[in-house]
Amino acid sequence: MTVAVTIGPAQISALDVWRSVAHHLAVAVGAGAPEPPLGVLRDGIVWDLRVPRVLTAAAVGAGLAVAGTVMQGLMRNPLADPYLLGLSSGASLGAVAVLVLGAAVLLPVAAFAGAVAALTATLALAGSLGTLTPARTILAGLAVAQLCAAATSFVIFWSATGDSYREILAWLMGSLAGAGWHSVAVAGAGTLVLGTYLCTRGATLDAFAFGDRAAAALGIAVGRTRWVLLTVVALMTGALVSVSGAIGFVGLILPHAVRLVVGAGHRRLLPLAALTGATFLVWADTAARTVFDPRELPVGVVTAFLGAPVFALLLWRRRSDQAGAA
């Protein structure tokens, strides 16, 4: 993470990073000199721009990976992910709506409400088509996500005064460009509290591997557990999206990648998915802000470039599975 902070248009060494961090911690406890050791400008780049951005990326990446892992386990759907099932788009819509109304304080709450509404709509739509198969759920999620994205764009166009295209892009593709210490607080708290809670439910998620009835026979209150865990996932997604917009595919690909290495047991899978999710998004965001310097890509563009082929591969593998079973 220190290394990711050093990468960027301004020359900053790892030592500089730690000197700046040490300085600010010292000031915080009232022990340090008021003058930053790197000079005000460079210190500002480290402490006010890059450090919070990297920390936000880590929190969002970890949170999304855990959310995807939980959704895949709970719904027995290898394609489940907060982005594909519309939660992220719903959260974006909720966030944009309150920003337009000028009630920024309610941002995480509105994002959560949007995520819950989108998830409910997806599951209701998929359920009305018949059994909740992975394919039906994804199609329903797509419809909900598109509707929310269109509504988000509409709200921004209708209200925005300045650069509405950039703003739309940031909400729909996800971007960490605006990340500051307030984003670290929201995303960090969301991931630490809710993500840690979800990580302790590994044994319960394992019991879902054999289906709802098997889980019930193992003493799990299936309906209530599903409801609680999905609500926590929506809550966490809301917190993350309110700072980063809808970053796609992190929740889809990281759980699969980690599962390939450590297997599907959730006790190990959940914490490792969080760790790799954090690392992945820190580097994806570092690439997004530096590779096309001085232009900056929304980080969602990078994750989609990496994630969409994996999604296609998963679809293809399911196809061959079904052909094999028939």
């Binding site: 302790t200 054999f210 009835r213 098997a214 193992l218 003493g219 297997g263």
Partner: protein, 259 residues
């Protein structure tokens, strides 16, 4: 007395699937639950397992009302193996069996040495030891069924419910699996198994319960239930009951239609 099912009814979409079923499968014995497709066998097993809640009636295990027992406590006493359990995530045999410890592990705790010992013993008892480190997806139907049986044994149940355990298995795998089940009854486990194949039931069961359209039409010792006049109205087949030349157990020979 061990398991006591008392006037249990369950309806779905207004239709009575299980209609006032009474039965008392004896302790430490293998009881076969027979009946044509749609007679309510699977539903009855799920009601006893607590996966479904009955609309009426009681399910008692050694005098305790199972419906009023907490889910977790019930899962420590009753285990269910359903047919054709599909798993599409990469789990090894051991991981799958470890899931059976769920009702015994505290919410915030990890697995203890005893949990690992129980998992090892369950793998061995179900003959699933060789599959401990293999991915479930690479196992044959019979091998996977042993893993599912081991998972149920890891719950340390007093009552084991099996839904069509021998379905899709070749004859060798069927006999092997039934042999494992017989050894379980030998150490005191009560087993209730829904069975499709009457000759499997004839060869393996101590006691039978015959269901038709959600009601018990016959129950008792294997020979009492497997009589042509009992089976004919339920299955709409005619048959002759023979004796196995080695074991003396009943063997059914079915008449072709129209003879």
């Amino acid at each position: 007395m061990s398991l006591r099912v008392d006037a249990v009814s369950w309806r779905v979409a207004g239709r009575l699937v299980v209609d006032g079923v009474d039965c008392t499968p004896p302790r430490a014995a293998l009881t076969g639950l027979l009946g044509p497709n749609g007679s309510g066998k699977s539903s009855l097993l799920r009601l006893v397992a607590g996966v479904l809640d009955p609309d009426a009636g009681r399910v008692e295990l050694d005098g305790t009302d199972l419906v009023a027992t907490s889910r977790r406590e019930r899962a420590r006493q009753v285990a269910l193996v359903e047919q054709d359990t599909v798993v599409d995530v990469p789990l090894t045999g051991r991981q799958a069996v470890t899931v059976g410890r769920t009702p015994h592990t505290p919410r915030w705790g990890g697995l203890t040495t005893r949990d690992h010992d129980v998992v090892d013993a369950a793998l061995a008892e179900a003959g699933a030891g060789p599959f401990a480190d293999r991915d479930l997806g690479t196992l044959s139907g019979g091998e996977r069924q042993r893993v599912h049986l081991a998972r149920a044994l890891a719950q340390e149940p007093r009552l084991l419910l099996l839904d069509e355990p021998t379905n899709h298995l070749d004859v060798h795998a069927q006999l092997d699996l039934l042999d494992v089940v017989r050894r379980l009854t030998g150490r005191g486990v009560t087993v209730l198994a829904a069975l499709h194949d009457l000759n499997v039931a004839a060869a393996a069961c101590d006691h039978l319960v015959l269901l038709d359209r959600g009601r018990v039409v016959a129950a008792g010792d294997t020979r009492e239930v497997l009589r042509p006049e009992v089976l004919e109205p339920v299955y709409r087949v005619r048959c002759t009951v023979l004796s196995h030349p080695r074991t003396g157990r009943p063997v059914l020979a079915f008449d072709p239609p129209g003879t």
